[in-house]
């Protein structure tokens, strides 16, 4: 039975994170000097602190040494973190998701014994997924409701050399790459159709990471271009069967509701700032919250946040309970993709409404409002954008069966 009542543990986690955001994160990330300089270097001391609280291993099973929480709880945590800093939220969400998918689900016992202790021991060990390649066409676009004529193979290759794989190629915009301790790399091996995954330690010879221009960043968290120049890893680092990697889609099905939750946190930060200010600022002889025009705007923002959260929680709960879709309790539509697309458009609109309360201060770089708008805009254009997400949803609505799963919605 679907219940909206959180467990005492979930409420405790939420309150703990809310407290961390208020006491530690916001006072650092929203300093005027940092905002004014557009300084988005990762606050490593805060990430360390979050790791010590167990957030890096939030989704990792208890047996593996993590907190083993479900995706709904991950969404709650991500939303709270993002109200203070979407970059911290993005890094932790990505590492925690990969920790669960890699260690709990895809690694062999032998691989786990080699990689898990190092991950648990080092607060600075983040996990990175290197999948996307430069100039690759990820959009559904013209292929909507049409079988793709050809899906190009990955240009990053791995060739077998005795007991090793030799990797060559370039990945782009790999989340967590600049701080990654362990990379999961999507490669093409000779003679196979689909991609394979190789586990590559960051310190492998020939692996280099280049961070993009940090001015006016258009992504959240950490991100980098990763080059592989004859990088050699043991044959035993192949994750699962060759040519049949399910890593990207497994990660996406977990991560998508959390990306929407991160977006929601941005909207909440804007809304909370606007509500505080509206209760302080006096114009027209009274606090501006007492004017119909401002009150209604804030109400509309609050409605948008609540509806968005309902969609995200439903999608997260569905990913935790696949049986609910199987039993037809929940729609079998791609709820996570729908939540993410809805959140992207709704939160951008809500953030703009919230900042209207601030007049000229809404565009000043030393104030947080312009950052909230920019953060919401990043979410609106994440991946291939909401228009493309809607095409994927439309294919699902019409039960279009795509020969390749690469372009399907979650």
């Amino acid at each position: 039975m679907y219940s909206l009542e959180l467990s005492p543990e979930q409420i405790e986690i939420r309150d703990t994170i809310r407290d961390l955001v208020a006491r530690e994160i916001k006072p650092f990330t929203l300093q005027s000097a940092r905002l004014e300089a557009g300084d988005r270097r990762l606050p490593m001391h805060l990430l360390d602190q979050a790791s010590q609280m167990g957030l890096r291993a939030l989704a990792l099973s208890e047996a593996g040494g993590g907190a083993g929480v479900d995706n709904l709880t991950c969404c709650i945590v991500t939303e709270e973190l993002a109200t203070g800093d979407p970059d911290i939220a993005a890094v932790l969400s990505h590492t925690a998701t990969l920790a669960h998918v890699l260690f709990d689900r895809l690694m062999s016992a032998e691989q786990r014994s080699r990689f898990l202790p190092a991950f648990l021991a080092d607060d600075r060990c983040h996990l990175a997924l290197a999948d996307l390649e430069p100039d690759s066409d990820q959009a559904l676009g013209v292929n909507y409701h049409r079988p793709e004529t050809s899906h190009p193979a990955l240009r990053t290759t791995a060739a077998r050399d005795g007991d090793s794989w030799i990797i060559n190629g370039v990945k782009t915009c790999a989340p967590n790459a600049p701080i990654g301790g362990l990379f999961a790399v999507q490669v093409q091996t000779p003679g196979t159709r689909g991609p394979s995954t190789l586990l590559v330690p960051a310190k492998s010879k020939g692996l280099t990471v280049k961070e993009p221009d940090q001015a006016r960043r258009w992504y959240h968290g950490a991100c980098g271009d990763v080059s592989f120049d004859n990088v050699r890893v043991p044959a035993a680092n192949l994750l699962g069967p060759e040519g049949e990697s399910t890593l990207s889609s497994t990660v996406a099905s977990h991560a998508t509701p959390q990306l929407a939750a991160l977006n929601l946190g941005i909207g909440r930060a804007a809304c909370e700032a606007a509500l505080d200010y509206a209760q302080l600022r006096v114009q027209g002889g009274r606090r501006i919250v007492e004017h119909q025009a401002i009150g209604t705007k804030l109400a509309e923002v609050a409605i948008k946040l609540e509806v968005t959260r309902a969609m995200i929680w439903q999608a997260a709960w569905a990913s935790d309970h696949p049986e609910a879709q199987a039993s037809r309790s929940l729609s079998d539509l791609p709820l996570a993709t729908m939540a993410q697309a809805f959140a992207a458009e709704t939160i951008y609109a809500a953030t703009k409404q919230a900042v209207e309360c601030f007049g000229a201060m809404s565009v000043m770089r030393d104030m947080p409002l312009q950052k909230h708008v920019h953060d919401a805009l990043i979410c609106l254009h994440a991946g291939t954008g909401t228009s493309d997400a809607k095409l994927r949803i439309a294919e699902a609505l019409a039960s279009y069966r795509r020969p390749s799963t690469m372009l399907a919605a979650e």
């Binding site: 066409d137 030393d366 954008g385």
Partner: protein
């Protein structure tokens, strides 16, 4: 009905378009990218534009200006804004206040202020109204509340007025040579009855510029704090009458019931940004490919291009109609509505342009992204609740 432009209007439009293409657009992105807000300004472009007449468009010909009509002014603001919205605004900000000098100042004041303004390519004007606790209250003062609105105090001492207080968010403050300053000369009555406008040169003793604001859009356009510490202004610098600062609309022949030029200015500038966004989007749609085909072939892209052009052309019609109505000296409430509309349109059009371009892999087209940041300036200048209610109240009078 006749939508054609005169030869002179067409000439100004073409001159402005050429200047925007050859001089403004090439420096737009590099100026925008400068982190320090004081450093974004470029006197070179101001001098070049001034020599072509873009600084003095609204000064009557008998005083050495261009004496252009509102239609020409709208055309030029639009064309300049296609190159860079903030640079266009830096020029047109002078028109607003040079218009005020020629319409409301005495001959003696014109000799002292208008003549040097016309002669000096680096002479810029500004006006100080907003204060830290008085933004909306200046735009829409609550009836009979003497506490609401600006607080900058001016007290008479012989032939001088002593000004004390501060202004914030003042356009051209860090670069201007002369400012129109609204100050309270009677703090016990409402804003309308107790405010006087003064001409304050930048070298006035006791007057200085404080912080320069670091805006996220319109980065070229300078905006600063003004600090008055016993600033001494001669009585001869009072504009119009003491306790009657709201002189501009009536004396300047404004038949919009509000701030005609200011409203038209934002709408016309927005039109330029929208035209630039349409150009960028169309160019991208016809060259960038997805799935082996140009984007233009996709229905979704066509629908977005349609909406961008539909809104932009509607805004163009509205802007030109408002300009024309006022050249014909018709009474019309439309200027405020056109400005409000321009805020909605510039947001939607610049956002659709970004959608067509996308930001895949964290890579964004900087020229496209800049238009979205510039557009967000309209939220508080042109499209906030107060500006919309003001337009409605004029209709309801």
């Amino acid at each position: 009905m006749d939508f054609s432009l005169s030869n002179e209007q067409r000439h100004w439009q073409m001159t402005a378009r050429k200047f925007a293409d050859e001089e403004i657009r090439p420096i737009s992105l590099e100026r925008d990218a400068i982190a320090e807000p004081r450093e974004t300004f470029d006197w070179d472009i101001i001098k070049k534009g001034s020599k072509l007449g873009f600084r003095t468009m609204a000064v009557p010909k008998e005083w050495g200006g261009q004496g252009t009509d509102f239609v020409t002014q709208a055309l030029v603001m639009t064309e300049l804004a296609r190159g860079d919205s903030a640079i266009s605004k830096t020029f047109s900000q002078n028109w607003k206040w040079s218009h005020l000098i020629s319409a409301t100042c005495t001959e003696e004041q014109k000799e002292r202020f208008l003549r040097p303004f016309v002669e000096d390519d680096t002479f810029l004007l500004g006006k100080g109204i907003s204060e830290p606790s008085a933004g909306s209250d200046n735009r829409l003062p609550p009836a009979d509340d003497p506490k609401a609105g600006l607080k900058l105090r001016a007290e008479r001492q012989g032939d001088e007025w002593i000004l004390n207080g501060e202004k914030c968010f003042i356009a051209n403050a860090p670069v201007g040579k002369l400012f129109f300053i609204d100050a309270r000369t009677n703090p016990n009555v409402s804003l309308r009855e107790g405010t006087t406008m003064f001409l304050v040169p930048s070298d006035t003793p006791g007057f200085r510029i404080g912080k320069v604001f670091n805006k996220n859009g319109w980065r070229f356009y300078q905006n600063g704090e003004m600090i008055f510490e016993n600033a001494r202004v001669p009585h001869a610098n009072v504009v119009g009458q003491v306790n009657a600062s709201d002189v501009k609309s009536k004396l300047a022949g404004d038949r919009s019931g509000g701030d005609l030029f200011g409203d038209l200015e934002l709408a016309a500038n927005a039109l330029g940004v929208c035209l630039e966004a349409c150009d960028q989007a169309m160019r991208h749609a016809r060259t960038a490919k997805q799935g082996g085909k140009i984007l233009f072939e996709q229905q979704l892209v066509q629908l977005k291009l349609n909406k961008m052009h539909m809104l932009t052309e509607a805004l163009r019609s509205f802007v030109m109609r408002v300009a024309w109505e006022h050249d014909q000296k018709l009474n019309s409430n439309c200027a405020g509505l056109a400005m409000n509309f321009s805020s909605d349109v510039i947001h939607e059009v610049t956002e659709l342009n970004l959608e067509i371009h996308g930001a895949f892999g964290g890579v964004v087209n900087k020229a496209v992204e800049k238009l979205v940041r510039d557009a967000l300036i309209w939220t508080h200048l042109a499209g906030d609740n107060v500006q919309r209610m003001k337009a409605a109240r004029r209709l309801g009078r």
